[in-house]
């Protein structure tokens, strides 16, 4: 479920929506408090809305404090020294002070109650209006009929406290949403465009086109993707990549929209339209997430919807009960206390504020969620299942060994390099990860790319064609044999190697080019298989002539991520479609004991569904979409731009697996905060209403309690902002370098006899 967001705090508008004309435009707010706070924050135009609001509050407070002090003097005998009965005159004076106060502060509540009524619902504003109107009108009646007691002080002070409480609540919400503020309207952010003559103009991001020169001063957010053409600086890319350490930028380097420029001014040549950046996609995803209501929020809103009529009924019952046991004045005061002490705001605020804070904190580190309910679910998971390829590993297999038959190496013509070159010729146009690994290695070694003719790809098995006039194939052993390539007799029987060469230094003509031969290494085929993730056989002519061993390096942060998740007391398992040997090897490397290997996507999905526990599934989001969708929370380690297209509920930035334990901790804290807020909101209302109905609470104290109760929810939620700092992981330094280290793993060549 998605809905529009509050102009001020970016929470869903919901049932207590409040529309108002502020700063020259009609805007929607989730409550009157936010409307007030927005006026304060954005009323710096000619209308001076901000100051006008505070002036109203201050003047109302001045008048109501004076009403209270005069009432105090009147009822404590302070005016008794005057001749005659001063009461009617003082009552009239109190009325003259109270009438403008009620108009000044009561009007917005009356308007809100009216708007609610037009939509056919009763909101908290109706309670205030009813309570204040009752006290004010009863006082006017008493004044006109010469009654003993007027309650102008109560009516006005209740209004002051309510306005103040709502303002404080809104200010707290605005503070809570500060972290998310840059994401709410990035297209409206302005950037400094440099003209050819050196002039500067400030234009919104939406008007930026490719090829413009943009100046970014220190402390400013980079509004568009581009390339640095002048200046050097460090920029923070946490919001895009999760990496908290600033990244150095020099002329010629790319910068991403959404990054923060830390030090020196940068001039950037834009590379695309302002609205086409990844930053825009991220902000759109965040806004979408903020607009989705979680289960708890929906429940709380349903309760809050029924709450106001229930409070009204309780107030009527209270008045009726006390009218038969005490004076009508006392009965009215107790009824008023019931009306003003009820706090449906706290109920409505309990869940969305905590989840919005969580979404904001995650977004600051480049982590996107689909909605608040994802955090609720993630906070309650008991196990985390990891996919292997592309999740715990980089998903970029690299050649770790090449074996060739004696016929290929001892002929003195060609050896391991040729095997690689032949395979690369066949795989050059394939997008398969293994094919990319083979071609990348051949390019890295500078091997010639032979033309391949008549290529035929057999999905899941391999590729066959003609290279230099000879039928050549690369693929699985079984398929090659079935395709007519003979397997050397001793292959697969644990044969020994006698010579080890390094394909990087051995040229195709077989000469050693001055490199001394390395010591002999004996390694069985089984060992080769066990040490590598995948084997690609190469057949030429009529027989298999070599094997390429590929392995997918572990992500540098995989071990820390798994250890972090285990430290949280969660069960961890590895789900893989790969061979058991490969899956167990990766599992052992990262410290996972429970391994399910050789699983098809359907098998993974049914396992997740069968276990029935609250599982989070971490995958690369490409081939495990059904499993991600079946899990309680599907977590993808993928480019955030793809969020809309795949089925993950939460997306970690590419390479941001190390953030997983922190994310789970944050989700737990959000869940705890939400539950705490709801317990407080329900508990407060139950106790306060009981006290008010039983006559133990004066209306003014009731209003003060009510104002404080939503502030408690705000302050409790704000703790999230502070607490999450304690769990921030130590990020693997310089992720790019770590990635490269995988490629530098030793390449071994084996001679298959």
């Amino acid at each position: 479920m998605s809905s529009a967001l509050c102009t001020h705090c970016a929470l869903p508008l919901g049932r207590s929506r409040h529309d108002a004309q502020v700063a020259g435009a009609e805007r929607g707010f989730c409550c009157y408090g936010c409307c007030l706070a927005f006026q304060v924050a954005h009323g710096e135009s000619e209308e001076a809305d901000a100051a006008w609001l505070l002036i109203r509050l201050g003047t109302g407070a001045f008048l109501s404090m004076n009403i209270m002090l005069f009432s105090l003097l009147l009822y404590s005998g302070g005016f008794d020294m005057a001749e005659g009965n001063p009461r009617p005159i003082v009552h009239a004076a109190l009325f003259l002070l109270a009438a403008p106060t009620v108009l000044l502060l009561g009007w917005p509540f009356l308007r809100e109650a009216w708007q609610d009524g037009a939509r056919g619902r009763l909101g908290s504003a109706a309670l205030i209006v009813l309570g204040v109107a009752a006290a004010f009108l009863a006082s006017v009646l008493a004044m006109l009929t010469g009654g003993e007691r007027v309650y102008f002080d109560t009516a006005t002070m209740v209004l002051v406290l309510f306005t103040l409480g709502r303002y404080l609540e809104a200010a707290g919400r605005a503070r809570a949403m500060r972290s998310i503020a840059p994401m709410l309207a990035p297209e409206r952010e302005r950037v400094t465009v440099l003209a050819a003559d050196g002039g500067q103009t400030h234009r919104p991001v939406a008007e930026i086109r490719a090829g413009m020169r943009v100046l970014v001063r220190p402390g400013e957010r980079i509004g568009v993707d581009g390339v640095v053409v002048e200046g050097t600086s460090h920029v923070g890319e946490a919001i895009l990549t999760g990496e908290s350490a600033p990244v150095p930028k020099h002329p010629g380097m790319s910068v991403l929209a959404g990054s923060l420029n830390h030090e020196g001014p940068l001039v950037i040549q834009t590379q695309g339209e302002g609205t086409a950046s990844r930053w825009m996609s991220i902000t759109a995803a965040v806004r979408d997430a903020l607009g989705r209501r979680g289960h708890t929020q929906q429940l709380a809103e349903r309760v809050a919807g029924a709450f106001v009529p229930a409070v009204l009924a309780l107030a009527v019952a209270t008045v009726v009960y006390w009218a038969s046991r005490a004076s009508p004045d006392e009965a009215m005061l107790h009824g008023l206390a019931v009306l003003v002490v009820a706090c449906p705001c706290a109920l409505g605020l309990a869940a969305p504020l905590a989840t919005a804070l969580g979404i904001g904190q995650l977004a600051r580190r480049g982590i996107l969620v689909r909605g608040g309910d994802v955090l609720e679910n993630l906070g309650a998971v008991g196990a985390v299942a990891f996919d292997k390829t592309g999740t715990l590993t980089l998903g970029e297999p690299r050649i770790v060994g090449i074996a060739c038959t004696a016929a290929m190496s001892s002929g003195g013509v060609q050896s391991p390099g040729l095997i690689l070159a032949l395979a690369a010729a066949l795989e050059a146009r394939s997008e398969h990860p293994l094919a990319r690994g083979i071609v990348m290695e051949a390019e890295r070694l500078g091997l010639p790319l032979f033309p391949a003719l008549g290529l035929r790809v057999v999905p899941g098995h391999g590729v066959i064609g003609e290279v230099r006039g000879v039928p050549t194939a690369a693929g699985s052993a079984a398929w090659l044999v079935a395709s007519g390539f003979a397997m050397p007799e001793n292959v697969g029987m644990g044969m020994s190697r006698e010579r080890v060469d390094d394909a990087r230094t051995q040229p195709l003509d077989g000469s050693l080019a001055g490199n001394p031969p390395r010591p002999a290494l004996t390694m069985s085929f089984a060992q080769l298989e066990a040490e590598s993730g995948s084997l690609v056989y190469v057949g030429r002519g009529s027989r298999i002539v070599g094997v390429l061993a590929l392995d997918d390096p572990l992500r540098p942060e995989a071990m820390a991520a798994v250890a972090g998740v285990r430290a949280l007391g969660l069960e961890v398992l590895l789900l893989s479609g790969d061979r058991a040997v490969a899956a167990h090897r990766v599992a052992a490397s990262v410290g996972i004991e429970w391994v399910e290997s050789g699983m098809s996507p359907e098998a993974k999905q049914s396992l997740v569904a069968r276990e029935g526990r609250r599982w989070a599934m971490v995958g690369d989001g490409l081939n495990d979409a059904p499993t991600l969708a079946a899990a309680s929370v599907g977590i993808a380690t993928l480019s955030a731009t793809d969020l809309a297209r795949e089925s993950a509920a939460l997306v970690l930035p590419d390479g941001g697996l190390a953030l997983l334990p922190w994310t789970i901790q944050l989700a737990r804290a959000v869940r705890r905060t939400m539950i705490g807020n709801l317990l407080w909101a329900f508990g407060y209302n139950a106790v306060a209403l009981a006290l008010a109905a039983s006559g133990h609470l004066l209306p003014v104290f009731a209003a003060a309690l009510m104002a404080g109760s939503s502030v408690v929810v705000v302050l409790n939620s704000l703790r999230l902002e502070r607490d999450q700092e304690k769990w921030i992981p130590v990020f693997p330094q310089n992720r790019a370098t770590n990635k490269e280290s995988g490629a530098a793993s030793e390449l071994r060549c084996f001679d298959l006899r």
Binding site: V40, G43, A48, A50, A51, W52, L54, I55, R56, L57, G58, T59, A61, F62, M65, N66, M68, L69, L72, L73, S76, G78, Y167, L168, A171, G172, R175, L715, L718
Partner: protein
């Protein structure tokens, strides 16, 4: 001399502190203009400020009364008043000693956190606003600013154990601070500059305020220890 008189004098003597702390606000409220315009704004500002003090004083007094009359087994008002008088006397003595240059190690709590942020933001917005209601609202908010003098006097108001007496205590204190603050557009501004420029003046004003606060603190303390009457004539 009545206790309210002493409180008034303490407020009067300590108003140089108000001038230093809040005088900047008051000067800015005049908008650089003098004459009747500035005077009206200053009067409204001070009316708001003193109203807040009175309200807080009434609350403090009512709170003590409420504690003592809330239930049958509550402690008698006199005992609570005596305990409060000792605490309040010590607090006022500390403030007085600080004016005299002693006990400088005792630090005031800075205005931080959510409440401070909101109050400071509100004051900032109100200060810039035109119109006559703005200084009034500003004065109301200014009265809630954390201030050691106000704390000391509120403690004094709480010892009265009565809302009206608490209000009277703060009214006397507010009236004491009124003259210096009310003329901030003219003489007060001049005084503020002189205080900033001449350390000797500042020291002298501090000693005067310190003497009155110490005297008030001793009287309050004695009231707690020796069971003197809570207000009215001391002798």
């Amino acid at each position: 001399m009545s206790q309210y008189g002493l409180i008034f004098l303490a407020g009067l003597a300590a108003s140089w502190h108000c001038v230093a702390m809040c005088g900047g606000f008051a000067c800015a409220l005049s908008g650089g203009r003098g004459g009747w315009h500035a005077t009206r704004r200053q009067l409204l500002y001070n009316a708001g400020r003193v109203t807040t003090y009175c309200f807080l004083g009434a609350l403090a007094g009512a709170l003590t009364a409420g504690i003592c009359t809330a239930r049958p087994g509550a402690p008698p008002l006199e005992s609570v008043q005596r305990v409060l008088a000792v605490a309040s006397g010590l607090l006022i003595l500390t403030i007085g000693a600080q004016f005299l240059g002693l006990l400088q190690g005792v630090r005031r709590a800075p205005m931080v956190g959510f409440g401070g942020e909101v109050l400071a933001g509100a004051l900032r917005d109100l200060q810039r606003a035109p119109g006559l209601a703005a200084p009034l609202a500003f004065g109301v908010a200014n009265g809630f600013l954390p201030c050691p003098l106000v704390y000391g006097m509120l403690a004094q108001a709480a010892t009265s154990g009565d809302a009206v007496a608490g209000m009277a205590t703060m009214a006397a204190f507010g009236a004491g601070t009124f003259p210096a603050m009310a003329v901030m557009g003219g003489f007060g501004g001049w005084l503020r500059i002189r205080l900033a420029q001449r350390p000797g003046w500042r020291r002298g004003a501090g000693v005067a305020a310190g003497v009155f606060f110490v005297a008030l603190g001793l009287v309050t303390l004695a009231r707690g220890l020796l069971s003197l009457p809570s207000h009215g004539h001391l002798t």
